[in-house]
Structure formats: structure tokens, C-alpha cells
Amino acid sequence: MKNGRPVNSLVVDEDNLIPGNPTYESITESVAGIPEQKQTPKAWWALFLTAVSLAGLFFAEIGYLFYEGTGIWGLQIPVAWGFAIVNFVFWVGIGHAGTLISAILFLLRQRWRTSINRFAEAMTIFAVICALMFPTIHVGRVWFIYWTMPIPNQMDMWPNFRSGLVWDAFAVGTYFLCSLLFWYVGLVPDLATLRDRATGKIRKMLYGLFSLGWRGSNRQWRHYELAYLVLAGISTPLVLSVHSIVSTDFATSLVPGWHTTIFPPYFVAGAIFSGFAMVMTLSIIARSVYKLEHIITMKVLERMNIIMLVTGTMVGYAYGMEFFIAWYSGNQYEQFTFINRAFGPYAWAYWIMISCNVIAPQLFWSKKLRTTIPVMFVASIVINIGMWFERFVITMSLSRDFLPSSWDYYSPTIHDIALLVGSFGLFFSLFLLFLRFLPMVAMSEVKAILPQADPHHHTEQIHG
């Protein structure tokens, strides 16, 4: 077997995940080297300044929103939910890939995840931060938002736990905290690495502080690994539940086009779909900016593309199934809603969604295409556009519900759009800061999957 790799690996095709026999030190060098750079790359600055100014726009808009009221948006009756909710669902969805890669693939012993899980997790956290912004700011009287939490008060009132929005608050809040813990736990050994390599006093202090005095002792690894496993274990049902619960915002209502049992699985699939697309976009940027081709290999990218192909097709199936059920239910309101989706005033959005989410990923059937960087880069962005429109199309079911008398057409204002764009600014600002100051690849995990990391590596002949 080439370079004596063990056969007991759970994954069959694992050949050179990390090509060119690197040493532990070379891994450390290439990963830890980045935050230690004296000279910040021009590309980073360019991206960061753009992102930060957009983030500025985001908060300016929020300020104006609080001053004027939700009227600055295109909202109305019947369409009382617009971009804010669409963006919320979109960002929560993005988050999912992170947890999926870090948790589920970890449980499935998918070792190739190690090169991307760190910044996938980071992405999750930043995405969820963006997501949490929207339901908060979209309420009419934001200064009372804490009423959705069970805090004792002079009114003797409690939140209504029957409401999907309260479920959201709990689910997404929990999701954020767990992801954060999971991410940080993973970071600790690598922060220790940075601590030990740091030169400046402040860097030493900071990395020292956050690595909690990690000594890589096996008595620590023992609890550490179990904690990591447990967190992965509970994150898995959590990540599945979060988007299911988000979907119940719609599914537990009686709006035709919302009131559907297929929503939870369909939302989760969609979330993973868009999440992977985002990871793809980011990793392509990261590996080209920081020359990490040897760690984030083509193999890894290709596998992500395959997952996108699969989930994309699942989403496509869900679209089809919605129509079938609408017809099969014999409920004229449902039937109308779906005909209206495809051919009504919002048909344009619908067909954008279909072509981006169902047709685009089909490219990846071809080995050639799913291994060409430009193709997958464009595809990943197209897919996220499509997934945003999916949420838009679903939300717009409101525009035509039961009584034709109340039908109306929602169109966003400049402020709706500014907030959407701004949220990307916030997301990328955070992400670029992460790239600059933290190890973007889980070094200890990558080292652990190096051939020489296996104790039986050189000595297996002895144990015949």
C-alpha cells in the first residue's frame, strides 16, 4: 500500500487528502503562518474595507429604521413579512453547512472535513449573527423585543410558547451558543500553537489567555475528545431541528403555500445546499488568497460539489412534491397558490429560483465541470442567489391568500435592499477578521490524519 497507509480507515477512498507527505511542522507553518504574517495582503485589505463599509451601511439603515418605523420597508397588508424574514431564513440556512461539516461529517468519520471545518464553523457563527439581526429589527416596537423571553415582569405576563417566533428565539439562540462552544473547543489546541509560536508580548498574552493554558496532555485530550464528540453529537439533531423549527414559522400557519408538512425536511436540505455553496465560495477565495491548495485540495472541493448536487436535487424534488400535494389535496386555495407561484405576478422570482437551484447544480454530474474552479465558484454564487429567492417566493405566498379582495403586490424599497446588502458586509467583515487573526484550518485535526500520526505507521510489519 502506498506510503504504508493503514487499511483500517473507515473511508475507502482517502488517498492523499493532504498531498506531498507534509510534516507536522510544515502544516503548522502554512496555517499558523497566516495570522502571524507581518504584512497583511493587499487583497485582504481591499476585501475588508469594502465589507466594513457595507456593514456600516447596515447599521446606518438599522438606525434609520428604528427612528422611522417599519414603514420604510415595502411591507403592507397582506404581505406583512418581507425582506427581513427572507434574509433571516437565508442566513440561518447558510449557517447549517458549518455545523453539518463539523458535526455530522465528524460523526461519519469523514476525515476530509478537517481542512474546511474550522472556517465552515466560523461561517456558521457569523451567518447566525446576521440571521439573528433580522427577526430582532423587524418588529414594530423593538424596545420590547425582550418580551419574547420568559422574564418575570410587573405585568405578570409570559411569552406565548405556542408561537413559532418564540420557538425560533429558543432554537436559533441555542444553535448560536452551541456552535460558538463547538467552534471554540476546536480552537483551543490551535490557539495554544499560536501561543507557543507568538513573538510579541500582546499576542502571547492574548493567545495564551484564550488557549486556557492548554498543554496537549493526554489526560486532557481524553476529556477533550469526548466533549468534542458530545458537542458534535448534540449539534447534529440541533442543526436538523433549527431549520425545521424555522420552517414551522410558515408550516404552522394556515396560509396556502405555507401550511405544508414537507417544509422541515425541505428547509433542512435547502439549508445544507446553500450552506455548502457559501463554504465553497469562501474556501475558493481563502485558498487562492492564502495559497492553501495543498490543504484545501481539489478532492475536498469536489466532494462538496457532489453534496451540492445531491441536496440541490432533493430541493428540486421538494419543489415538485409541493405541486403534487397541492393538486392531490384537492384544496383549491393550495392549488391556486402553486399555479400562481409559477405563473402569477411573482413567476419571475419562481423561475429564477428553479433555474438557480435545480438546473445549475446539475452541471456537477460532469467530473470535468465539478473539478474546474471557475465553474464551481460561479455555480456556488448562483446557488445562493437561487436559495435567497426560494425564501422570497415562499414568503410571497402572502400576496394572494384566501380572499381575493385583500390581494396585493409587494415590492421592496431601497431600504429593504440596503439591509440585505449590508448584512453581507457584516458577514464578510467578521469572516475576514477571522482569517486574519485565527487559524483557519484545524491544525491539530489535520495533523491527526497525517499518515505518520498513526502510532502503527512504521511498525505495522512487526504486528503482522
Partner: protein, 215 residues
Amino acid sequence: MAQIFPKWTNRLPLYLALGVLVIGTTVVLLLWYYGSPRYLEVGYRPIQPVAYSHKLHAGDLGMDCRYCHTAVEKSRFATVPPTQTCMNCHQLILPESQKLLPVRESWATGDPIEWVRVHNLPDYAYFDHSRHIQSGVGCISCHGNVAQMEIVSQVEPLNMGWCLTCHRDPAPNLRPVDQVTNMAWQPPADHAEWAARFMQEHNIRPPEDCSACHR
């Protein structure tokens, strides 16, 4: 030599944990007390444009509340009396008193006296005096023993939770309807049974519905 932190820092986590615990609880407790109407509302005691003493009129002279607060049995508002009411007596009694100057001015010029509101519910809460009076809730239950107040101050928090406690168990605050204005009234030993009967007869079922107070 490669040590970054001195040894004592190992005790930091412990201190931190304790600190968070202690400070956290204090903050909560402080909020609980200082954030509550019991602190914010109770004891509000503005100086009135006229040095009118409830103690003197309602207490020592034993005037009935309804002599001035005429509408209390008929209307949502207890109503603050018009200058007229003051003058009914004070044209004869202490017609020269300095204290009464603002009253006489008002009477002469027709400019109303601007009393400062003491018991003030938010405008989205609709409290109806007449219905409570009719149901035998004494003035003292919400306003305290006004007959002993030189300057009227607020003695009850008047927040929603406080209202609800009575609406959920009104018996302790009920009294014979003819005793509502009597500040000295003491519940007899058999008050509980009496209250039960009284609620039966007058079919007193205080609502907990939102619509009872908010419209």
C-alpha cells in the same frame, strides 16, 4: 523563563466564576427592587399648587370623599372638584387665608387650578371608579389612608400585576358598599364568609380578560 503568566493567575478562573455569580445576582436583585413599580411609583408625593390637607378635611373634619369627588359613583373618573366646591365653604370660612389665595384667584379670574396628578395610570389602561365603588372596594384599598395624609402620596404600585392579585382574590378588599369611603373601617372576624356571600349576591366576578381594562 518561557512562562507568560505568573503563578497566581491560576486562581483567576475561580475568582472570575465567583465574581460573575455574586455580581450577577446583585444586579438581578437590584433591578428587581429598583426596577419595580413598588419603588418607582410608590411614594410619589408632588407638592400641590394649593396647600390642601386631606388630613384636615377628610380626617379631622371627617368630610366624606364624595363631597368633592362627586362623580366617583357614577363615572370612570372620581373627578377633582371645581373651584366652586372650595368656595362653597371658603367664602365664609377663612375668607382671608393666605393658603387659599390661589383658590380665590381662580374663582375671580376663572382660571382653573392646575392640580398635580398623583395616581396616574397609563392611558391604555381604563380604570372605572364607579364599578369598583359599586362592588364594595374601599377607597383605602388603592389610595391608602388619605385621611391621614397632609400631602397625598401614592402608597400602592398600581401596576398590572398588583391589579391582578385583587382581581384574582377580591374578598380581602371587599366591604359593605356604604363603608367604601370609611377609612377607619375594620373587617369583622367573619369577613371571609361575609365576602363570599356578598360576592354571591352582587355576582362579583372580577375579570382577568385583557379587554376589561385595555381597549
